[in-house]
């Protein structure tokens, strides 16, 4: 008996127990799904973290680290310079000897300047860019030195062999009078030298243009071509001179802090402007005056420690480039004694007795500042912008490593207006690279964000009404048999590669529409109006005629109206264009009937062939199937019980659709729009090909745009790995990511809200 009972219980157990296979599969699948879900979250967060890490360096301040001190023989050094690798700085002493210091070994090589014994150097000017030192003498003559480094490789190690090339000694201005100040500039084909000479009475300013014959055998001798006496062309006592780096300008600063700007061209030397940079200060005197890299901006410091940047630009109502105050920096508490520009970007080094400050002109920021424990005599930034060298009063050379890979970036560079060189006012601008090395990268994200929004706006403007009305009509009114054709067709449309759409848009649609704009606008206005009128007339027709068209096939009537409307617009367009869009061509005085010209002349805004209208059409074409499919699906999924309920109460099909079906499907319709929006924001190929990619800052219908996504595609091939542009593109990617993240979150939240409000039992 007990055995039997046991048997029964075992049997029961087997019957009710779950088989091992089921358990194993259940266990494995549960884990698998869990791992998959966590993996997806991890991947998305990983991408986010990666992008974030890529852009983080853009917002970091530079690191400056002292790497060594080299003691120089105690002498009075006038000037300091360094080779492009920052290995062998040289020092010019008062005896006109050049001392080259090998940093690695501390060994000093001295090369004498070999000047005649009779002369004494009274003024000098060294331009690190060209490696040229110009020295003015007490007898009113001058000469040029070229500091050259020739490189040799010994066992794979770069050895620098410095040499000094001295030119002849030239005469300038009033012979015999000592040169107090001298400046030199060389643009390659033109060289100018200007001097201030002490003549006992008012100091004189003379300018000479040097000529160097270029022959097949190389550069010939330098001869003085022309000489100007500028003494009487300005007022005041000259104290500082500055020659434009392109040898096309001369700035003369007087003791009253007035700067006279002369423009120098092949024939003439013309006074352009007199300005006083510190007119608002009690002491307007100018302490230092020098160019920033690129020769468009000057950094001027006052005796009180004020420092300002003036740039050349064409003022709003002017015709020629003049200097204007563009930037101010925080004051130095003491007078600035030294100014060194970077040869790589718009950074410069200012120093007073013990304060050393690295500043950046483009975004008016102080990159780095320190109080030193020694007195500064001279400073220099290596031409690779990776080293700072500071010579102290007691002839010690302090060498600092500078790590500042992204000086042009920063929150203000990306999101605020910046006063770029050559621009008459601060603005948002994207222009990452220019033709020359001295170009200021313009990295404002604003035009790209605006471009993204603009492209999305026009695409949605075109797509939303079409897609939603189509979805409503298809789901609620259209004959079931036709519906089974329409839906897959729309889905096929969604699968069209965007590159094909972009290609068609740019090469076929854009030129086609350009000349037929009036026709397009007529269509946009007249077709809906015609459709509504037809609907009204149709409803007035007797029931008998209405019944002639089976329900769901009313569109056949509309189709006829559309064809008629299309033809009517086509023939109407030229007349309308002649009547309303005729303008007088300002060039030849003839009347032209061209919408493009009319738009240009009446609105004063440009007309581009690849414009927002085309983007709206082509990107709308990409967005329509997505919005249509999802919206149609959700409209079709509204329970028939609800629509039957409304119909049974005597609602018309339209009333049922508008009052019951649309509100109930609103969550789905909203999702559809958000999916479309997400597609439009992230779309790349179409905007890349159709927009023209001009990073403009307007919502004009007839200009293009550059979107964040297209920007990444356009600029990535030009962005060196790890560089500022490369990281800035990642910043664009992050913004895009945040955009879509924001849109999706908003979409989900609102959808849930709508869903709970219009949930069906």
């Amino acid at each position: 008996m007990p055995i039997q009972q046991k048997n029964i219980s075992v049997k029961l157990d087997a019957r009710f127990s779950v088989s091992t296979t089921v358990k194993v599969i259940d266990y494995v699948m549960e884990r698998f799904i869990k791992i998959g879900g966590i993996g997806v979250i991890a991947a998305v967060s990983g991408i986010f973290v990666f992008i974030f890490l890529e852009i983080l360096p853009l917002f970091q301040w530079p690191e400056v680290k002292e790497i060594g001190v080299v003691s120089m023989p105690q002498r009075e050094y006038l000037e300091m310079g360094v080779d492009q690798w920052g290995k062998k700085p040289f020092f010019l002493d008062t005896e006109s000897n050049f001392h080259f210091l090998t940093l690695d070994t501390g060994q000093i090589t001295t090369i004498p300047a070999q000047l005649p014994d009779s002369v004494r150097v009274t003024a000098y000017d060294y331009s690190q860019e060209g490696g040229t030192l110009v020295c003015g003498f007490d007898d009113g003559r001058f000469c040029l030195f070229n500091v050259e480094y020739s490189e040799r490789f010994i066992d794979g190690v770069r050895e620098l062999e410095p040499s000094i090339k001295r030119s002849e000694i030239y005469r300038i201005g009033r012979t015999g009078h000592p040169i107090e100040s001298i400046t030199y500039a060389d643009s390659g084909d033109q060289k100018i030298i200007a001097v201030v000479q002490d003549t006992g009475a008012r100091a004189t300013v003379s300018l000479v243009r040097l000529m160097q014959e270029q022959t097949l055998l190389g550069s010939g001798a330098v001869t003085i071509d022309e000489e100007y006496d500028l003494t009487n062309q300005f007022e005041g006592t000259p104290v500082l001179l500055l020659a434009g780096t392109q040898a096309d300008a001369l700035l003369i600063a007087t003791d009253e802090g007035r700067i006279s700007y002369f423009n120098i061209d092949d024939e003439d030397c013309e006074l352009m402007q007199v300005f006083q940079p510190f007119a608002d200060l009690a002491d307007p005197a100018i302490n230092t005056l020098d160019y920033l890299f690129g020769g468009v901006s000057i950094v001027i410091t006052a005796a009180t420690g004020e420092n300002r940047v003036f740039s050349l630009f064409i003022p709003a109502n002017g015709t020629s480039r003049l200097f204007g105050h563009t930037k101010s920096f925080p004051n130095f508490t003491e007078p600035v004694t030294n100014y060194s520009p970077s040869l790589r970007n718009k950074a410069f080094l200012l120093s007073s007795d013990r304060t050393l400050s690295l500043r950046f002109a483009t975004n008016s920021s102080i990159r780095w500042e320190a109080q030193l424990d020694y007195n500064i005599r001279d400073t220099v930034i290596s031409s690779k912008y990776d080293r700072l060298m500071v010579l102290s009063d007691d002839s010690n050379l302090h060498v600092y490593n500078l790590h500042d890979p992204h000086p042009t970036s920063g929150i203000s560079a990306f999101f605020s207006r910046q006063w770029f060189e050559g621009s008459p006012f601060p603005k948002f601008e994207w222009q990452s690279t220019g033709a020359s090395d001295d170009y200021e990268p313009k990295l404002s994200m604003i035009p790209l964000i605006i471009g993204t929004l603009k492209g999305t706006f026009y695409a949605m403007l075109f797509a939303t009404p079409l897609a939603l009305s189509a979805a409503l009509y298809t789901s609620q009114f259209l004959d079931r048999r036709i519906r089974t054709i329409v839906k897959p067709t729309m889905e096929t449309m969604a699968s069209l590669p965007s590159v094909v759409l972009g290609f068609l848009g740019a090469l076929w649609l854009a030129p086609l529409i350009e000349t037929r704009l009036v026709f397009i606008f007529l269509l946009i206005v007249l077709l809906p109006v015609g459709a509504i009128l037809t609907g009204y007339c149709w409803s007035r027709l007797p029931m008998k005629i209405q019944r002639g068209v089976p329900a769901g096939n009313e569109f056949l009537v509309m189709l006829g109206i559309f064809v008629i409307g299309f033809v009517a617009c086509w023939y109407l367009a030229p007349t309308v264009e002649r009547r309303f869009f005729s303008v007088v061509d300002p060039v030849n005085g003839q009347v032209v009937s061209d919408f493009r010209e009319w738009w240009r002349l009446t609105t004063n805004t440009p007309f581009e062939q690849r414009n927002s209208l085309i983007v709206g059409f082509v990107m709308g074409f990409a967005v329509i199937p997505i919005v249509f499919s999802i919206a149609e699906e959700s409209l079709s999924n509204v329970p028939t019980a609800l629509s039957s309920g409304a119909l049974a109460l005597g609602a018309s099909r339209w009333q049922t659709a508008v009052r019951i079906v649309i509100p109930t499907a609103s969550a789905g319709i909203f999702s559809a729009l958000m999916m479309g929006l997400g597609r439009a924001v992230g779309e790349t190929m179409i905007v890349l090909m159709v927009t023209g990619n001009t990073p403009v800052l307007d919502f004009n219908m007839f200009t293009g745009m550059r979107t964040l996504s297209a920007n990444i595609a356009v600029e990535l091939p030009e962005a060196p790995h790890g560089g500022t542009l490369y990281r800035t593109l990642f910043l664009g990617a992050l913004i895009l990511f945040i955009f879509t993240f924001f849109i999706n979150t908003l979409a989900v939240t609102l959808r849930e809200h709508l869903r709970s409000r219009f949930k069906t039992v």
Partner: protein, 274 residues
């Protein structure tokens, strides 16, 4: 299916009898009505008349076509693709298939309550006045009055008068069904069609609705489809028994239940077929 005409004869006679006996003009009169979905005929030669302000119950096993017939009366079947019919349905001696007749006005005249309650995703108040709003009547006082009156007639007023603006989905199943009835009443129809209105409800809710239906009889002609034979016997004045698409027997309710003329009627009401 081939025996259609033979078996239809007795039901015709019974229908004729009813009409003659009451001696009044029927509100709904169905004549020689055939109906097919696609090629599948579901109603065969139906002849039936509904007198004014009476409750007529359609009974019969599932798939016998009683709901289809009901939905034909306000042409709700038009929404289904591929239907065909012949014969005629007349309401107040006006054919509902007349090409000049607007189906919207027909449905205003013939209200309908569905098997599964289908309140709109709106407030209780907006559900009730929906019919008025779509008719373009938006005066607040009028709507308020109609809403109160309709809810009272549907015996729902006391339960919802304090939360007219809250969602209709907060109601219980029975309340929702009464709301749907109130919604139909608000439209001031002449006829109310009810398609198994209590099939998803518990006995308490069912009895409430039955009570209400009996009260509604004063003002409306009611056609109700039901699976519940007790319900039919409790509330209806006349009962029509359908079987396999045919009207087997149509008579005053007590007569049909106590003295069924047809063998199949008897089998059905005694539970032998179903």
């Amino acid at each position: 299916m081939q025996t259609v005409n033979n078996v239809a004869e007795p039901s015709m006679t019974s229908e004729g009898d009813v009409s003659n006996r009451t001696g009044q003009q029927p509100v709904i009169s169905i004549r020689d009505f055939d109906f097919s979905y696609g090629g599948n005929q579901v109603l065969f030669n139906i002849n039936l008349q509904v007198p004014e302000k009476e409750i007529v119950a359609f009974i019969g096993p599932s798939g016998c076509g009683k709901s289809t017939l009901l939905r034909s009366i306000n042409r709700m079947n038009d929404l289904i693709a591929g239907i065909s019919y012949c014969g005629d349905v007349r309401i107040n001696d006006q054919s509902i298939f007349d090409p000049t007749l607007d189906v919207i006005s027909l449905r205003k005249k013939v209200g309908m309550v569905f098997q599964k309650s289908n309140p709109f995703p709106k407030s209780i108040y907006e559900n009730v006045v929906f019919g008025l709003r779509i008719a373009g009547r938006n005066k607040r006082e009028e709507l308020d009055a109609v809403a109160e009156e309709s809810l009272k007639r549907a015996a729902l007023w006391d339960e919802v008068k304090d939360r007219l603006d809250s969602s209709a989905f907060g109601l219980s199943g029975g309340q929702m069904q009464r709301l749907c009835i109130a919604r139909a009443i608000a439209n001031e129809p002449e006829i109310i069609l009810m398609d198994e209105p209590c099939s998803a409800l518990d006995p308490v809710a069912t009895s409430k609705i039955e009570e209400m239906i009996l009260q509604l009889k004063e003002n409306y002609t009611i056609v109700i489809v039901t699976h519940n034979m007790q319900q039919a016997s409790r509330i209806s004045d006349r009962t029509a028994f359908f079987y396999l698409g045919e009207l087997i027997e149509y008579n005053e309710t007590h007569a049909l239940y106590s003295r069924p003329r047809e063998k199949r009627t008897e089998d059905y009401i005694t539970g032998r077929i179903g």
